[in-house]
């Protein structure tokens, strides 16, 4: 098929997708550099695309622009210092990364965490999941040309960050929690902010849904855009909302419950087509489920003894400052923890949590030293982003942009 014919057909709307296999003479293709810094890619991603007019024939991803060697750095940091590295992976939902790391170390140390702490952690992680999904879904809206929803819903993300600020002092890179518990209890103000958020958010989320969910333009734009079959998605190691949108109900919270998730009632939404619209819808439903989980968790926290916010593990949990200055034992523990002298068992563990965009896994080998002997991060983005060039083959450039934003690829996690 000649270029002219093809363009004509495309203009008539007859062939939205080519197979990508038609061969043209090499000089009829255009090479297009999408990225590394491009306003539409939301992060540092480079894709060198071979274009036939508006249609992508093939592409090649280059990644690593913000690689910071976390795995290497972690080999020289005591366990409690590695939390700040996990912050900077998926920075849209860093509390999940932080708490995932703490749980990994707790698993290695075989610590028993009080139920109340687990429920508080569930609240924090579900808030983070909502914040993550808000960003992804509202940005899908922006990339289809709908700025309004983004502006409306982002206020809610701000409210979540206010809660985080009250809990740990930071908003984006939170470094929340400690090995053995949380650094402090929820303050009355934090509970009040949480209540306020839970009162406001459902209405705002509904408003956001009204703007996009049954919007004809949005549906035309996203349905059948960047689809992937369940089989292919599994082959490419998809996890999280992207896999569920393709129709596989794999959710770490259900499959390998951590943090007492088995006690909560929630449904795992799945899609059928694995396209942008399904990914959007799965995330949308997950936000509703998260709200319900948070409400259940608050109920459960009320039934637990008040004031418990960490396990009784003086070897790993820093004593209050006042005691450090007045109590010899506390001073010794403080010194041991800060210098990384607490005894850590030899062993290897893998722990995974359901992160904002998939199964976030920590593989840790300890040789009993001050630092991990080896730490490996299973970053969901890194694993599923390799399917991207395959998914955009034969589509329009503008669909490729939309596919990327709906996959929720976060540069920090991709490059670690």
């Amino acid at each position: 098929m000649s270029v002219k014919n093809k363009v004509d057909k495309v203009n008539q709307g007859n062939i939205p997708h080519t197979t990508g296999n038609e061969q043209l003479a090499p000089n009829e293709f255009t090479t297009l550099n999408l990225g590394p810094t491009h306003p539409a890619t939301h992060g540092i991603f480079q894709n060198v695309l071979k274009m036939d007019g508006e249609i992508i024939m093939e592409g090649e991803s280059t990644i690593g622009y913000i690689h910071r060697a976390f795995e290497k750095i972690a080999e020289r940091r005591p366990y409690y210092q590695i939390t700040v590295l996990t912050d900077r992976m998926n920075y849209c939902s860093s509390p999940i990364n932080n708490l995932g790391w703490h749980m990994t170390v707790e698993k290695l140390l075989k610590l028993e965490i009080p139920k109340r702490v687990q429920y508080l952690r569930v609240i924090i992680m579900e808030l983070a999941r909502i914040a993550d999904h808000i960003i992804c879904n509202s940005v899908i809206g922006v990339d289809t040309g709908a700025m309004t929803g983004f502006l409306y819903i982002f206020q809610q993300r701000e409210s979540i960050y206010d809660i985080f600020e009250e809990l740990c002092g930071a908003r984006l890179t939170t470094n929340i929690g400690r090995i053995g518990g949380l650094e402090r209890d929820f303050s009355p103000k934090a509970w009040a902010l949480l209540d306020k958020f839970l009162n406001e958010f459902p209405g705002k989320l509904k408003e956001f849904e009204n703007l996009l969910m049954r919007n004809r333009i949005f549906m035309d734009r996203t349905i059948n855009c960047g689809p992937i079959t369940a089989e292919k998605a599994l082959g490419y190691g998809f996890t999280g909302p992207n896999l569920r949108a393709a129709g596989v109900d794999y959710d770490v919270r259900v499959m390998n419950p951590y943090c007492s998730y088995e006690e909560f009632e929630f449904t795992v939404p799945v899609g059928t087509q694995g396209d942008t619209y399904d990914r959007f819808m799965v995330r949308q439903e997950e936000m509703w489920q998260s709200v319900s989980i948070i409400k259940q968790a608050i109920e459960k926290v009320r039934k637990e003894p008040e004031g418990v916010f960490h396990a009784d593990v003086p070897e790993f949990f820093l004593p209050p400052k006042q005691e450090v200055y007045n109590n010899m034992e506390a001073l010794i523990y403080h010194f041991k923890i800060v210098m990384g002298e607490s005894d850590v068992p030899v062993g290897e563990v893998y722990h995974c949590v359901e992160g904002g965009n998939g199964e976030l896994g920590f593989y840790l080998i300890s040789d009993g030293g001050r630092t991990p002997y080896r730490m490996h991060l299973r970053r969901p983005c890194f694993i599923y982003y390799q399917a991207y060039t395959d998914m955009i083959k034969g589509t329009f450039l503008s669909d490729a942009i939309l596919t990327m934003s709906s996959m929720n690829v976060i540069a920090g996690e991709l490059d670690a």
């Binding site: 990644i63 690593g64 690689h67 060697a69 795995e71 290497k72 750095i73 080999e75 020289r76 698993k107 290695l108 599994l234 082959g235 490419y236 190691g237 596989v248 794999y250 499959m255 390998n256 062993g347 290897e348 563990v349 893998y350 995974c352 199964e359 896994g361 593989y363 080998i365 030293g369 001050r370 630092t371 080896r374 490996h376 299973r378 890194f382 694993i383 982003y385 390799q386 490059d415 670690a416």
Partner: protein, 168 residues
Amino acid sequence: MENTLLTTVGDKLKSKFGDAIVSAEQHYDFPVYVIRRDAIYDVLKFLKEDEELAFGFLTTMCGLHYPDNKGQELGVMYQLHNLPKNLRIRLKTFFPVSDPTLPTITTLYPTANWMERQEYDFFGIIFKGHPNLKRILNMDEMTYHPMRKEYPLEDGTREDKDDKMFGR
């Protein structure tokens, strides 16, 4: 249920591959098998294609480096997941640093593509048959494989950081 399947995995591997299984252990909640290098591809293929075991999902893989294990310095860890039955296992294989080659498993699991590139990049493990084995996170001009233990994190010429106090 889980335990019976687990013993099935062990039994099947033992009967099919015999002494290619160097060891079988339990680390926390994970069964870990150490496999000889020459059998690793066949074992993975068997685990994936056997109807009962069906480990169809490659969760992750990563390189390992133990400089003190002479002749077995480098290694690779594979982690497989049987999603319907929710069983996870871990396989390891070790080989000398002088001959860091392994067969690629991209033909079994497409997702191994970037994972293998990552381990090539950081450990210099050469995956034979990989479609596009080049560096992925580091720059192409780099001449060494930085996750190997002989490369210090800090600049080796610095003297103000005392390993006795602040190092490993």
